[in-house]
């Protein structure tokens, strides 16, 4: 097993959280307001992209 790349792991975690949020919303387990949901989706997507970008710069 090679060296763990934390940034890529964080990126994957952000996507898992994004999927979990969408799943809970789709199943009506949680009721998030439109604005908060949009902000959470944008934040997690942005976080995943930033983490992925950081990961790409690592050797």
């Amino acid at each position: 097993m090679s060296r763990l790349q934390l940034a890529t792991l964080a990126s994957g975690l952000a996507i898992v959280l994004l999927g979990a949020l969408l799943l809970l919303e789709a199943e009506r387990t949680i009721e998030v307001g439109s604005g908060w949901l949009a902000a959470a989706v944008a934040g997690l997507s942005g976080g995943a992209l930033v983490a992925s970008g950081v990961g790409a710069r690592e050797p």
């Binding site: 060296r3 994957g12 898992v16 999927g19 969408l22 997507s45």
Partner: protein, 411 residues
């Protein structure tokens, strides 16, 4: 011995033959974006500023200047500083991306139901043609990338395919393999196909979420996230990480947008026509439709003084028509995210349009409306629903019907 004097015309011809052939290349020095105008200026012996102004002016002619610039940025090689093209350089990625987008918007955009001229007009006109163009582009891309470009794209000079292949194998850095124009076309085709595939996936994701299948999309996003996280542990699989991330975002962003916008298309597609003859025929949870036309004709109900008939309706996209007798007072609320509300002749339009009328003091028979729509037109009328047509949304307020509705509510 006296030197033989040459004819001036012959001398000029010899000079031309000896002078190196000037090539059209993108300038590495005179550049704002990709050096196209600088290169053209060098080639034509014109100040690049004039060329830039020419391109800007050409943008005004249906975007031609922009498209021409992007095509040149992709097809014309860059100058290496000595008047020769940079060897083995790929076309600028952003120029390819922008060109792909421009082509998608300008040409086959309406193929997918959007673009200029209204949805699907181009598909009706020449949809099959653009489908053919896409397939042809895919074939060309495959042939070019597999080293078997069509004769059309081979370099001039008469190399036969076998020799060209052998040369390409021997001298990959010296311009062997598919020529630049074929590679550029192949890349454009790949970008185009990639955009189309991404757009299709995004539409499927948004559609699935709007029709109540968001859990499936969410599950796929979670699986992609797990796979992405797993690549952190294995160096060999890290090349897959950007693709997994891109795919996850293509699916998650439209699903998130649809969920945040509370867009729902439950109830199927098509036309639904409900004409109850007694109030108990109306289901307690009302009528719903995903996309299409929903007609609820209540004119045959036995309306009586003081009677209140609750009606709940839900429509995703389309037209909802509720017909009531003239003497019935319409109260309650109707919300539409985008489109037009036309309640008894009173027209309201735009984003988040709503109708809200409280209980009147009189004893008139009353329809208590609870209507919800995403996009389209909601009509509450005393006309025959079959006679409500597109003209309705261009008429605006109907003073006669407004007066009749007011009178009904004041009885």
């Amino acid at each position: 011995m006296a030197e033989k004097k040459q004819d001036p015309k012959t001398e000029e011809a010899n000079d031309r033959a000896e002078a190196p052939r000037r090539r059209l290349l993108r300038s590495p020095r005179e550049r704002v974006l990709w050096g196209v105008c600088g290169g053209l200026g060098d080639y034509l012996n014109v100040d690049p500023t004039w060329v830039r102004l020419g391109f800007v002016a050409a943008v005004l002619f249906g975007g031609f200047g922009l498209l021409a610039y992007l095509v040149m940025a992709v097809v014309v090689p860059e100058d290496d500083g000595s008047g020769n093209p940079v060897s083995g350089q790929r076309p600028p990625t952003w120029a390819l991306v922008l060109l792909g987008l421009a082509v998608l918007f300008a040409l086959p955009g309406p193929l997918w139901g959007w673009g200029w001229g209204g949805p699907h007009w181009w598909w009706d006109f020449a949809g099959a043609f653009w489908l053919g163009v896409l397939i042809l582009a895919g074939v060309l891309a495959y042939r070019a990338l597999s080293g078997r470009p069509l004769d059309l794209f081979r370099r001039r000079g008469g190399d036969d395919p076998t020799k060209a292949k052998a040369k390409a194998a021997d001298e990959p850095e010296a311009g062997g393999g598919p020529p630049r124009i074929a590679r550029a076309l192949a890349l454009i085709a790949i970008v185009l196909i990639g955009f189309s595939a991404a757009a299709a996936m995004a539409v499927i994701s948004g559609w699935a979420t709007a029709t109540g299948n968001g859990a499936v999309i969410a599950g796929v996003v979670i699986a992609l996230g797990v796979a992405l996280g797993a690549t952190a542990f294995f160096a060999d699989s890290r090349q897959a990480a950007p693709w997994l991330l891109g795919l996850a975002l293509i699916l998650a962003l439209p699903a998130g947008a649809v969920a945040a916008g509370d867009v729902r298309f439950d109830g199927g597609i098509g036309q639904r026509d409900h004409r109850p003859t007694v109030a108990t025929d109306i289901p307690a949870d009302g009528y719903e439709l995903g996309i299409g036309q929903l007609i609820v004709d209540l004119r045959d109900l036995p309306w009586s003084e003081g009677q209140v008939v609750p009606l709940r309706t839900e429509l995703g996209i389309g037209q909802l028509i509720v017909a009531v007798p003239t003497e019935v007072c319409v109260t309650g609320e109707a919300d539409i995210k985008g489109g037009e509300l036309l309640v008894r002749g009173d027209a309201t339009g735009g984003v988040d349009a709503e109708f809200d009328r409280g209980t009147p003091a009189g004893n008139a028979p009353r329809l208590e409306l609870d209507a919800e729509m995403q996009f389209g037109q909601l009509v509450v009328t005393d006309d025959d629903p079959d006679e409500v047509d597109d003209e309705h949304d261009r008429r605006g307020d109907d003073e006669d019907e407004i007066a009749a509705a007011e009178e009904a509510c004041q009885r």
